[in-house]
């Protein structure tokens, strides 16, 4: 005779080599039958020592390291870091550079969300979305390549502006991309939003209430999907985000489906920002500040003036000194609030760099989201968390 009341908790290992853990995340899962009792993420499989490396590099040399944190949206990381350094100096960024920064950051957000929808849907079993989403992502990467020469880790946003102006072709491509992108999002939504399997796998899964959001400190879509209306672009504006009109999508339900809807709307809203930025951007202008404290002197200057040559040599070989003090700058990265906390001892190198990585904080809520669900739903919950191990482990 079978006694159904016996319950035995067993521990299962998931990852770090697992196709659905989005990298090298390891989960130690306690299950009772098929029900999850407890999930404990084991991170650190991609710990590369970024924060330690930054202490031995000049402020400019840190930028390539930030690219490789959240490698789905490298330019957002560049932006957050550069804004933090610029706070030391109170640098005035040229108008055209400000617009290009917004354009690059929003393109990164779209690219990041496209990878999210591709992998999230693939994990749950919808293969088609992966192929369509990567098609649009290739368009964005092609644009990055036209503008910066690199597909992903371009380090294009620099302290005091951006590295160089974009060619005309970049804007032509971006215009045609923004024109068609809304219909592409329609395509993904046609495949998923009313799909019965998709709804069964996502509605009610991984619930996070507004109180939980406060307790765990999750940010980004994990916060807005739970009915908390907060977006750093609007509430603590940086750059020139106050010049654009867009809406911040908020869903009340707090489950995986709500977060899916939030991210899908964010794709459309980012597209709106891109369209407005393309209309408003000044036709010509400098893209790098002329503030001598952080910016390299121009080549013409270097050939003609001794002081400019010395200054250039000094910044390239030794770096520039930041005033003593500390700064924090958070931006609304695709995953949530990405913050850089820098401590300066008045030297050319940061004394300490602390990265507030959104994925790391969001992963903390994983147990809360997963406990009580079936083991098969864990894949959907990790997918909706949208973690990137590069920024979790740093």
């Amino acid at each position: 005779m079978i006694n159904n009341n016996i319950s035995e908790v067993i521990t299962v290992n998931m990852g770090p080599q697992h196709p659905s853990t989005h990298g090298v995340l390891r989960l130690v899962v306690d299950i009772d039958g098929e029900t999850i009792v407890n999930v404990e993420p084991d991170v650190g499989f991609l710990h590369r020592g970024t924060e330690k490396l930054a202490e031995n590099r000049t402020y400019h040399q840190v930028i390539p390291l930030t690219d490789r944190l959240d490698y789905l949206s490298p330019l957002s990381n560049n932006l957050a870091y550069c804004l933090a350094v610029e706070k030391f100096f109170d640098v005035k960024i040229p108008e055209r550079a400000e617009y290009l920064r917004v354009i690059l950051a929003e393109m990164s957000r779209v690219a990041s969300h496209l990878v999210w929808i591709a992998t999230h849907a693939l994990d749950i079993g919808a293969m088609t979305v992966f192929l369509y989403a990567f098609r649009e992502r290739e368009d964005i990467l092609d644009m990055f390549e036209v503008g910066t020469g690199q597909r992903m880790t371009s380090s294009w946003i620099r302290i005091g502006g951006i590295r160089a102006d974009m060619p005309e072709d970049f804007f032509v491509r971006l215009k045609s991309f923004t024109d068609k992108f809304d219909s592409c999002v329609d395509l993904y939504e046609n495949l998923l939003t009313n799909n019965r399997i998709w709804k069964m796998r996502t509605i009610g899964i991984g619930h996070l209430s507004a109180e939980d959001v406060q307790v765990y400190g999750t940010s980004g879509p994990l916060m807005r999907g739970s009915g908390v209306d907060f977006d750093l672009r609007r509430d603590e504006p940086y750059g020139i985000y106050d010049r654009f009109k867009w809406e911040i999508p908020v869903e009340e339900a707090g489950d995986t489906y709500a977060r899916y809807k939030v991210r899908m709307k964010e794709l459309r809203e980012s597209n709106k920002i891109l369209q407005q930025a393309l209309e408003q951007i000044p036709a010509t202008g400098e893209v790098m500040t002329d503030d001598p404290r952080v910016a390299l002197p121009s080549h013409e200057d270097v050939y003609e003036r001794m002081e400019a040559l010395i200054r250039r040599f000094y910044i390239v070989s030794k770096g520039f000194k930041a005033p003593k003090g500390e700064t924090y700058q958070g931006i609304e990265a695709p995953k949530g609030e990405l913050g850089f906390y820098l401590v300066s001892e008045g030297e050319e190198r940061p004394y300490r760099m602390k990265i507030r990585a959104p994925s790391y904080v969001n992963l903390g809520a994983l147990n809360k989201m997963a406990a009580g669900h079936m083991l098969a739903d864990l894949v959907a919950i990790v997918g909706t968390n949208d973690v990137v191990l590069g920024e979790i482990d740093r």
Binding site: P16, Q17, H18, P19, G23, V24, G44, F45, L46, H47, R48, G49, K52, L53, P64, L65, R68, Y71, L72, V115, A118, T119, F130, L131, F134, R135, R137, E138, L141, R151, M152, T153, L389, G390, D393
Partner: protein, 158 residues
């Protein structure tokens, strides 16, 4: 065989067992999905519609026991190195390894206490792909180089 039938009526096609088996092997390389870091995103881009690894017979498998190629795409840390080696040992022979990107090749920009300076410290590597991350074209170059290498291998007598 219609073409050969008419032109070469009394001939026999001769080949070696080696080249038949190698031909089959090079046309159905199944790599294990082993994305570690940034390069894995370019690996996914290779698998998607624009670059399309499927046309070379490459289908990603989720388990090392069904695969014969390991693509180490990303930084290998000291914590990850034993796992990399274990996954490699779980793969059946014949097996090949491609190290993708600067990190897997030599540690790249991460010369730190926690990073393995190249995956060849823990497993043997057949091809190295430079770049941070490498372009999909560089990736394909490694695959075609691997296919050439497979064609030269001896199957019957080692």
């Amino acid at each position: 065989m219609g073409l050969i039938d008419r032109k070469l009526p009394d001939n026999v096609l001769t080949t070696t067992v080696d080249s038949v088996i190698n031909y089959c092997r090079k046309g159905s390389i199944w790599p294990v999905t082993f994305g570690l870091a940034c390069c894995a995103i370019e690996m996914m881009a290779c698998g998607a519609a624009k670059y399309d690894l499927d046309r070379m017979g490459i289908i990603f498998r989720a388990t090392p026991r069904q695969s014969d190629l390991m693509l180490v795409a990303g930084t290998v840390t000291r914590k990850m190195a034993p796992v990399v080696r274990k996954v490699y040992l779980q793969m059946p022979e014949p097996k090949w390894v491609i190290a993708i990107g600067s990190c897997a090749t030599s540690g790249g920009i991460y010369n730190t206490y926690s990073t393995v300076q190249g995956v060849d410290e823990v497993i043997p590597v057949d091809f190295y792909v430079p770049g941070c991350p490498p372009r999909p074209e560089a990736f394909f170059d490694a695959i075609t180089a691997l296919q050439k290498k497979i064609m030269t291998e001896k199957v019957v007598r080692k």
